[in-house]
Symmetry: C2
Subunit: 708 residues, 2 copies
């Protein structure tokens, strides 16, 4: 038995604060919602002012209820909620859904109610969904424990059967969760559960996801989140989902400062760093969406339960314009629409009208509407090995258009392993959507939406296949000992680079001008001077750096100037270094994210890293294969690699350093606070890289104690 069963599939429910007034938005609507939703278990309203509500005997107090019950729905004022828990425990109740608002999302004293709630919940071992949510809807189990008007959709058919799988929706915003449900059902998707988690004082989004993964009928999970409160669970749950091939689609809100302002007062979310979330999502194959229709478009293809072998699309259309439009949209995303072999073209010509286009896209022309040649085309292509996915452009605005062909289409779908989608350029009628759903075919109402979904399907497949080859290499890295010396100088770091076999410039420490001159002669002009002062992080800003010194005279002048920049003492050592030729300047660093731990950072380097804002994160440790994917997410590298080769820089050497730095950071993760090589100069292919400057901050003993 599933551990959330008593919550999502209860046999008996008490409703604390139930009201007989149907105009009362929350309190008056829960019982009718349960009844209309088909709930067949017991209902116990609790309200001291009524004998009976909606025909159900009503209890003055919880403990008056004669039998134990599974679930409590709580719709009373926030401040009274914590007091109910000891009685709930006496009634044998294990779960409570708290709809009431006025907790931590308001702040101030209201946050105390939430703290009380949590401690009562732990004390009495009663798990909480909410507060500040709109409850849940279990469509398959017929439990409509929500007052959201979005839960009842009138005549729109809920297509729970069919050859595909089901969608679970979890949302930190109740309104958006049920809006998504409405849109999904209207598009013919089989939705099994919608859960609003609110402030997540107990049960979290990831708890619901974990639970959904135990249901083998679930084919896809869609989330709206502002933050995850149990970030450590993300990796194991996402990996389980990957293993089961159940894609997780996430809309993560709060990317801008203006929206972060709003999130705090909405579900009390301190919105996490978007770049860290993005890094986690991309490393775990979680699909990020940015629009409601996009979520539905993706969920529609992922619940069909068919996996393509490649990205070759066959397009069948009754409209020439539609064929062209979908072909463009697919091509834009890198999907292929291959020209058919002459053999296949001839087979198509056998039954298609004289003027039909048969090269792919196939224009079967509007004349075909009154015949069965659309089905014959589908049949032929479904069994062809020239394509991996089939997309049909149609007009589904006439009702019952597919009814006559439905059994033949179902037969084709039962036989083929290829995903098939329909894309209607007119607004489709529900009956056609339903017929398609029964055959396991999603329908799209947007050419670009359809293409994006096919692209995501192929990318997910590719991700799963690639991932099996990712291996985190075992790399011997230096072990840093904690010390009070917190800012490391370049020469300190040099040893670390050396142990990591990252090349550094030839350089010699000099304490006076004579030593500097000797060093320069041995290195060879031109040289570079760098002051070694732990207090100075950005050398170029304070004149602690001199480049391109060609002669002895220049060296002497520069030496005296650089020395003056020292903050600590007048005899700080100065590094004499070979001058390095031009290349691509990259930053490689590590950060400790408060939510997700050590992450590796890669981006365009130089002194303006923050302004340029072209860096990407990825959870450490990283494999070579992932490092190469990460590199391409940096805009600069993507632009440079856009000719399909890596002519402009040494991709392999850069990858190598990323992997080493990530291993180094993970092996010292409680000691290193920040680490960066900037610039790492990257030369043309085969010419490697060189670490020109760097920075490391380690944690002192007392901080270590706080952090470990």
């Amino acid at each position: 038995m599933n551990k959330l069963d008593s919550l999502l599939t209860p046999k008996s429910i008490a409703i604390i604060g139930a009201s007989p007034d149907p105009n009362n938005l929350a309190r008056g609507r829960l019982i009718p919602a349960l009844v209309q939703g088909g709930f067949t278990g017991k209902i116990y309203p609790v309200n001291p002012n009524h004998e009976e509500i909606y025909g159900y005997k009503t209890y003055k107090k919880l403990i008056d209820i004669p039998e134990p019950f599974d679930l409590a729905l709580i719709v009373i004022s926030a401040k009274f909620v914590p007091d109910t828990f000891s009685d709930l425990a006496k009634c044998g109740c294990k779960f409570a859904v708290i709809y009431s608002s006025g907790f931590s999302e308001v702040g101030g004293e209201f946050s105390n109610f939430e703290e009380q709630l949590k401690s009562e919940s732990i004390k009495h071992n009663i798990k909480i969904l909410g507060p500040n949510g709109v409850g849940f809807l279990n469509v398959t189990g017929k439990v409509s424990a929500t007052f959201s008007p979005g839960a009842s959709l009138g005549e729109i058919p809920r297509n729970l059967d069919g050859v595909g799988k089901r969608l679970v929706i979890v949302s930190q915003s109740g309104g958006l969760g049920f809006a998504l449900y409405q849109r999904a059902v209207t598009r013919g998707l089989a939705v099994s559960h919608v859960v609003s988690t609110g402030n997540e004082a107990g049960i979290t989004t990831l708890d619901i996801v974990e639970n959904a993964l135990e249901d083998e009928m679930v084919g896809c999970i869609a989330l709206y989140i502002e933050q995850l409160r149990d970030t450590q669970k993300l990796r194991p749950i996402a990996e389980k989902a990957l293993a089961q091939r159940v894609p997780i689609i996430i809309m993560k809100a709060g990317r801008s400062s203006a929206s972060q302002r709003a999130a705090l007062s909405h579900t009390a979310s301190i919105v996490g760093s978007d770049t860290a979330y993005e890094a986690m999502f991309s490393s775990l194959g979680i699909i990020r969406a940015f629009d409601q229709q996009e979520i539905i478009d993706l969920a529609a293809i992922f619940t069909t339960n068919k996996n393509p072998l490649g990205k070759k699309i066959g397009v069948i259309s009754i409209s020439g314009g539609g064929a062209i439009w979908l072909t463009d949209s697919c091509s834009d995303l890198g999907l292929e629409i291959p020209e058919f072999s002459s053999k296949l073209q001839n087979q198509l010509r056998n039954f298609l009208p004289e003027y039909a286009g048969v090269r792919n896209p196939i224009d079967i022309t509007a004349q075909s509407l009154n015949s069965d040649i659309n089905v014959r085309t589908l049949e032929l292509l479904a069994s062809s090995n020239e394509i991996d996915i089939l997309a049909v452009v149609a007009t589904l605005s006439e009702p019952k258009l597919l009814t006559k062909d439905k059994s033949r289409i179902l037969e084709i779908m039962n036989r083929t392993l290829k995903p098939v989608v329909f894309c209607s350029y007119t607004i489709p009628k529900l009956s056609n959507i339903s017929d398609l759903h029964d055959c396991g075919i999603p329908n799209y109402t947007s050419f670009t939406g359809c293409a994006k979904a096919l692209h995501a399907l192929w990318k997910y497949e590719e991700f799963i296949n690639q991932r099996t080859e990712w291996k985190i290499p075992s790399i011997k890295t230096p072990k840093i000992k904690s010390s009070l010396n917190r800012n490391w100088t370049e020469s300190d770091l040099k040893e670390i680079y050396h142990e990591l076999t990252i090349r550094t410039p030839i350089s010699i420490i000099a304490k006076n001008v004579d030593a500097a001159l000797t060093a320069a002669t041995s290195i060879g002009y031109p040289v570079v001077l760098k002051l070694q002062d732990p207090e100075i992080v950005h050398k170029s800003k304070v004149g602690a750096l001199a480049l391109g010194l060609e002669t002895k005279a220049e060296l002497i002048e520069a030496f005296n100037k650089v020395r003056c920049a020292s903050k600590v003492k007048s005899d700080s050592p100065i590094l004499i270094q070979e001058m390095i030729s031009a290349g691509l300047d990259v930053i490689i660093g590590t950060v400790r994210d408060k939510d997700f731990g050590t992450m590796i950072m890669v981006g365009k380097g130089g002194t303006k890293v923050e302004e340029i804002n072209d860096t990407r994160l990825y959870p450490a440790p990283i494999s070579k294969e992932e490092a190469k994917i990460l590199i391409q997410k940096v805009r600069l590298f993507d632009t440079l690699l856009s000719d399909g080769s890596s002519r402009s820089f040494d991709l392999d050497a850069l990858t190598d350093v990323i992997v080493k730095v990530s291993a180094f950071a993970v092996n010292n993760e409680h000691i290193i606070d920040e680490f960066e090589i900037n610039p790492l100069r990257v030369f043309s292919p085969g010419h490697g890289v060189i670490a020109l400057d760097g920075y490391m901050k380690t944690l002192a003993y007392e901080e270590l104690h706080k952090n470990v």
Copy 2:
């Protein structure tokens, strides 16, 4: 009187090939469509086999019709169509809509029918709409001259009145045109005309656009095109549209090779170079869309007839999650959601619930649903100068939600100059859409779609304002004389660069080794050698180039080697050139586009230009201001400029060269076939540019004669 009046608003119509069979897709549906569409003029069916069709007296021959008529609708076989024109002329008919297929889109002998059609049309001065189209719908004039099922939308209200303007749809694909109509009307837009132009044997897409611009009620024009057949009209018509502030939205199909394959057999379109079209669109403020919903989203905001003064958005939401989502979507596109002043926040607090967010976005909370505070918030913000645009996030799935507030909202909208939009996260009911339309407020069903539309609105406004400052500078450029010498060498081009004041490396021509050594000494080592041979376009590929020669010995060896690469004769001159330091390599060129004439090309330079595929076109001549916009469209420059400054390269110097080259190309446009500087090396700001190599192809006398 408008010149297309007799076509789009005829008083009498003959239907050649009319049939009484309602199952006949085209022939049997035209009369019912006209009648149901409310046509009140005269209808003359022509069919030798019937006395009466749908109650209308039917004529055996055209010339039997007793009175002159305005328009002929022709639905007979392609091959018989040309023969009808002499009789049409006798009947005083000026326009014919030809629905029949089987013309140039099929190819072969069928193309002849189209040629005959054209010559008959010219001979008898009868203008053709079609063939291979589905006719047109004039909603305002009640002329439904189409058999498209999409023209009759059942109960969906056509919102032709209201405070906004109207949309005209023109499509080379009839199916897609009427699908767009269905979507537009369902979203509450006022559509006045839908025109399917088919193969465009006579009247073109641009003719319809030109005609629509004469109707002051038209606020926006949406097009689906595969190609334009009268490209020379694009500029004057687009400029007229800009002057009238009537945005043109274009879906241009045929971007990929696979879709180009299909376009030819669809409407006989030789799909033009997409990059040239893109260049024209961006220079003329034409808005390009890629999806049907995107077209509607854009048309919805552009028909409201309100222009924003800036990009500051005030977001009002009844859902906290919805507020955050829309705010993110707007921020992603660079729109601002400013935090309100404390004065405005206090004014809002006066009437909003205690827990409402008032900083912007405003979360008025679901409690506000039963009061008028949503309208009060709208009222307050509509008159605030802290924002330019108002976006309301709502749930419009309950019918008649806005009816009670409609008159107050209308009052607000009549007073404010600010655009206001609604965005519903649930699927909106038609009644609410209609109420909003009446108030001049478009509704969106997608957060990203809403944000994109607001962004496009602001960008259009910005474009119109910027454009007034664009001035093509008058630049004196060298006049090229045509000659048979068609491939110009670098030293020939050097004079042109000199006259255009574009810097080139110091270089001296040497015919032998001794002269080369003297030259190198005078220039200073290191030097570069380049063979001057008009037959060699890519020097590095054939060894006609030597870089970084440091000594006399290296120079002598290289001189002899490079000379061997000559194809023509063993004593081709060799250029001795100063070695230029590193920088950004750019290509600047000109091309003669078959559709749109001389265009300037800018992009990432070097030897791999084709593979890198990071160049952009723009019609020449170009102003400095446009050149700067163009530069940012090149991916490489966009990446480099992404820190908001131009630190990485000399933007002004690059701009200057683009403007000069464009002027040069335009002033010699019948002589220069191709011209490029590649690489133009661009240094850091203030350090200018230098033309390192180049190429020009001029047309010989006989070709000039063909082209002028």
